[in-house]
Symmetry: C2
Subunit: 221 residues, 2 copies
């Protein structure tokens, strides 16, 4: 029962909380089969900036953004010295069976298979879903800097967090915080997905233990 955890790039905004999350993930990986997929973060922001400035093609920006995920994966490896870094799904699965955390650098997989459309509707959310499905993972956890998916901007008083939501509802209405393409891939691959705040690693643990806590579960229908 493999769980893929995508560590959102926005979590690198606060050094302390990312380092804390990484330490906890190493501990969780002793008891659960966990494979990490990196987000894009500041590296992807730079791609977006130059995409706008130079009016780059979507195809080229897509490749640049995947390299941004590799870069963030390298950063995560530097924090989690015990983890292994790999381009290979097979090696990641082998490591997870031995309860060793692995970080997948997605460039080789994505450049060779090129399974997703080239646009900003596809970000590391969809890419991690594709990788999770290729790994036949049980769950995908998107660790972000928000508590879950909300009905409106979480800063608004009347915003409510979804405990559960269906991917098809997300297809119809946009609630922010996840990329536009993700619901489609969750339905197609029949993958359960959680959106959780990575600043509270105990909430990730609750998901691994199948316990209630503060997060949004996206059901693949």
């Amino acid at each position: 029962m493999v769980t893929v955890i995508k560590i959102g790039g926005s979590l690198a905004e606060e050094r302390k909380s990312l380092v804390h999350l990484c330490k906890e993930l190493i501990i969780f990986s002793k008891n659960y089969e966990i494979i990490i997929v990196p987000g894009g973060g500041k590296f992807a922001d730079t791609v977006r900036y130059l995409y706008d400035k130079f009016k780059l093609s979507d195809e080229i920006a897509h490749r640049m953004a995947i390299l941004a995920m590799d870069q963030y994966g390298l950063l995560l490896k530097d924090i989690m010295k015990e983890a292994i870094l790999t381009y290979s799904l097979k090696d990641a699965l082998k490591a997870s069976k031995r309860r060793i955390l692995s970080i997948i650098l997605p460039s080789k997989i994505m450049f060779s298979l090129d399974p997703l459309e080239h646009s900003w509707r596809v970000t590391s959310d969809s890419i991690s879903a594709f990788i999770a499905s290729s790994l036949k993972a049980e769950n995908l956890i998107l660790a972000k800097d928000v508590d879950g998916i909300f009905t409106a901007d979480p800063k608004r008083n009347d915003a409510k967090m979804f405990k559960r939501i269906s991917a098809s509802k997300l297809l119809k209405e946009r609630f922010g915080c996840i990329d536009e393409f993700l619901p489609r891939i969750l339905i197609e691959k029949q993958l359960v997905c959680y959106v959780v705040n990575g600043k509270h690693p105990n909430r990730l643990k609750s998901i691994l233990e199948d316990k209630r806590d503060i997060y949004t579960k996206i059901n693949p229908y």
Copy 2:
């Protein structure tokens, strides 16, 4: 007679001048065997920022910075549609013989051979010198956003530009604008190198034509 031209990342600061340079390079490549190596630019700045913030290891930062060169290479390809993008020295040489401009993405070469030290003393200057030497190139041209190597900050009235300078002098004294490791690799590989302002493509042409103009020539002794 292959010439390797490194397009400095700082040239992406002004969209217009980078696009102009790229157009001229396509024209030059009809008459000269030219191979492009990308700099790092804004992508490498992001690496530096996160290197400082997370106190990353030099080894990891080196790998991240090489991926930044790949990203900038992709950007250059998007501007120069006629150019080919390659990871292979052999393919780049083949293209240059047919007077087709190629852009080398250095990641595969650098990750497999790993020939240079992992520190910020090595930047895309040294990496392009290593690649130029591997290609047995005649010359290396570093296209930057400065006219050449100066005795002091070019903004100062008393700063003078070197028309020629020896790599061994650069080893003893630092004059800025090129990385610290470059002179050593120029001597070791016996490679002639030019520093020229990429905002004036005609100056690059002068180097290709072996004519005098505004640039600094670094002799490899």
